[in-house]
Amino acid sequence: MSQEAAPHHRRRAAALGLGLLALSLALLAIIVLSMTTGARAIPLDTVWRALIAADPTATEHRIIWDLRLPRTLVGVMVGLALGLAGAVLQGATRNPLADPAILGIHSGAALFVVLGVAVLGLTQLSQYVWLAFAGAGAAMLVVYSVASLGREGATPIKLALAGAAITAVLQSIISAILLTSPRTLDEVRFWQVGSLAGRSMDIALQVCPFIAAGIVLALSVARLLDGLSMGEDVARALGQRVGLSRALAGLAAVILAGAATAAAGPIAFVGLTVPHVARAITGPSYRWILPYSMLMAPILLLGADIIGRVIAPPGEVQVGIVTAFLGAPFFIALVRRRKLAAL
C-alpha cells in the first residue's frame, strides 16, 4: 500500500464517507418504520410520546417498549452481526460463498438447541442463547476442517459442499430427536425458522456484549483482511502473519454469527449477500467493505422483517423466510454472473 494519497483517492474516500452517512440515515428511517409497523396500528405521534415520556400503564406504550423496541434492537444487532460476519468470513477465507448458513453454523446451533430442549428441558428463548452459541462455533470448526482437506485447501466449492454435507448430517440427527419427542418439535419449530418475533430486552442484553466484542475484533482485522486479499504470499512478504490473521478473523465471525443465531435463530443469506453489494459499491478494501456491510445488513434484515409482519395477516411470515426468498435469487444470480473463485 503506497503512502501518498492521490487527490482522486481522497475524493473517493469523501464519497464513500458520504455514502456511510446516507446509509446511517436509511438505517434510522427503517428503524422508525420498524417501530411504527405492526399488527396493531399505532400512530407515529403515540410512538414518539411513548419513547420520550413512557407511561407503563398505557397499553400502546407497553407494546412499543416491550415488543417493538426490543424487536427492532435485536433486528439491528443481528443484522449488523450477520453482515459483518459474512464480510469477515469472505475476506478471511477469500471465499465469496462464505456465509454462516452455508457453513453449517445454523444447523450446529439448531442441534444444540434441540438437545437443550429435549434433554435439559429448556423452554425459553433466553435459555437457548448459550447453546446456540456453542453449537454455531462447533459446527463452523468442523465444516472448515472438512473443507480444508486435501491439497487445494478450503476452496469455495469445497467449503460450500462441506457445509451442506455437515448440515445434512446434523439435520438428520435433529430429525431423529424431533421425531421421538413431539414436545421438543413443538418448541423448536418456531425457533428453527429464524425470527425476531417475541425477542425480549433480556435477549438483546444477553447477546449485546458479544456483538460489541465481535464488532471491535472484526473492525480491527480489516487491515489484515486487505493484506490477505492480495494473496498469502504478498501478505507474508509484507510481514503479516497469515495464520494469525485468519484465526482472528474466524474468531470474530464465529462470535458475531453465533450471537446472531442465538438471538434470532437461523437467518440465511444476509451474511452472504450484503458484503457482495457492499463490495460492488466500495471496491475491494475491507476498511470500507466492513462498515458498509455493517450498515446495510440491518437495513435488509429490518426491511425483511417489516415485509414479513404485513404480508400475511393475521399471522406473520418470519424474517428468516423473507430473507431466504430475497437472498436465494441473489445468490443464484451471483453464481451465474462470474467465476467466484477469485476474491
Partner: protein, 316 residues
C-alpha cells in the same frame, strides 16, 4: 352417532337374548360408517393411546398400545396402570408391525376424527394395522361426556362390568365434580372465560366448537368467549402478541397438553395486557385429551376452584 349407539345396543340385546355360553358374534359400527362383525367378542385388543385412556378405566385392558409420542408424555394415559401392556409405537405414524402381529390382536380400537377423515395415528398406521385385525372405535364429536359414554357402550359390548366398584366410584366422583362445576358457574353468571394456546409467534384463541370439552363447559353454564374469526379450520383465531388484549376475559384457561405452553405465555411481555393474566386468574384447559371420568372429574375440580376464586368483575 345415534345409529352407532343403537347398533351397540342391538349387539348388547342380542347378547342378552342368546344363550349365555356359546360364542356370540360381536358387531360394532364406527363413525366412518363401517361395521365390524366378528364371530366372537374380541379379547386381544390393540388400542390407540386415546382409546386406551377411554377403555382401561372401564376394565378393558388392551394387549398393546400405540402412542403419538413417548408414552411418558401422553397426557391421556397419566395415572393409568399400563403394566403388562406392550407399547408398540411411540412416535406419530409409527407402529412396530411385528410386535403388533406377535400380540395376535382380534381387534384394533382407535378414534375416528371426522374433520380429518382419519383414524388416530394416521393413514400409515391404519393401513399397517388393518392387515392384522379390523379397526373400529368411537368417533370424535361435540362432547367429551358423550365420548366417554360411547366408550362405556363399547367397553360393555366387549364384556366390561360397568358396575364394578372402582368404575362406579369414578363415575360418582365425576357426578359430584360436575354438580360443583355447574353450581360454581351458576354462581358467577357474568364470569367470562377464554381458552388459549400460547406460542412464541402468536396467541391462539380457541373456538368453542373446535374442542369437545369446551362445548361441554358451555353447555354446563360456563360463559366462554368465542373468537370473532376462527381461521385455522375453525379451531383457532391467531392473535399477534401486539393484540393480546383483543379479548378481556375474567378467567383464562391455557391448553395444558404441554407444560411449556403456560411458560411461553408468561414470558410474553404483553401476556399481562389481559387483566385476568395480570391478576393471576389463569387455570388449566384440559385440551383434547380427556377420555375418562376420573380425569374429567379432576379437571372439573380444578376449574371449579379457579371459577370460585376468580373475580368476575375484571372485564368491562
Amino acid at each position: 352417532m345415534l345409529s352407532r349407539r343403537l347398533t351397540a345396543l342391538l349387539a348388547l340385546s342380542g347378547l342378552a337374548l342368546a344363550a349365555p355360553v356359546a360364542a356370540e358374534p360381536w358387531i360394532y359400527s364406527d363413525g366412518a360408517g363401517q361395521t365390524v362383525a366378528l364371530d366372537e367378542v374380541p379379547q386381544r385388543i390393540i388400542a390407540s393411546q386415546d382409546a386406551a385412556a377411554g377403555l382401561i378405566p372401564l376394565g378393558i385392558r388392551p394387549v398393546g398400545i400405540y402412542a403419538d409420542g413417548p408414552i411418558a408424555d401422553a397426557k391421556a394415559l397419566q395415572g393409568l396402570d399400563l403394566s403388562g401392556i406392550e407399547i408398540i409405537g411411540q412416535a406419530w405414524g409409527e407402529v412396530d408391525i411385528e410386535k403388533a402381529a406377535a400380540l395376535e390382536p382380534d381387534l384394533v380400537i382407535a378414534e375416528y376424527w371426522p374433520l380429518d377423515k382419519a383414524w388416530s395415528g394416521g393413514e400409515k398406521v391404519e393401513v399397517a394395522l388393518s392387515y392384522l385385525a379390523p379397526i373400529t372405535g368411537v368417533t370424535q364429536g361435540a362432547s367429551i361426556l358423550t365420548l366417554i359414554e360411547d366408550y362405556e357402550a363399547l367397553a360393555q359390548s366387549l364384556g366390561a362390568d360397568l358396575s364394578a366398584p372402582q368404575i362406579a366410584a369414578d363415575k360418582a366422583e365425576f357426578s359430584a365434580a360436575l354438580d360443583a362445576f355447574k353450581a360454581a358457574a351458576a354462581a358467577k353468571p357474568d364470569l367470562t372465560v377464554l381458552a388459549v394456546w400460547a406460542g412464541a409467534d402468536a396467541l391462539y384463541v380457541a373456538a368453542t366448537a373446535g374442542s369437545a370439552e369446551l362445548v361441554d363447559f358451555k353447555s354446563w353454564g360456563l360463559k366462554l368467549i368465542d373468537p370473532e374469526i376462527a381461521d385455522d379450520r375453525g379451531y383457532w383465531e391467531t392473535l399477534s402478541w401486539e393484540n393480546a388484549d383483543k379479548y378481556q376475559p375474567d378467567l383464562i384457561i391455557v391448553d395444558n397438553r404441554s407444560p411449556t405452553t403456560i411458560e411461553t405465555a408468561r414470558s410474553q411481555p404483553t401476556w399481562t395486557l389481559m387483566k385476568a393474566a395480570a391478576a393471576g386468574q389463569v387455570a388449566d384447559w384440559p385440551a383434547f385429551w380427556l377420555r375418562n371420568y376420573r380425569h374429567y372429574a379432576l379437571a372439573l375440580n380444578d376449574l371449579t376452584t379457579a371459577i370460585k376464586a376468580a373475580d368476575a368483575g375484571l372485564a368491562p
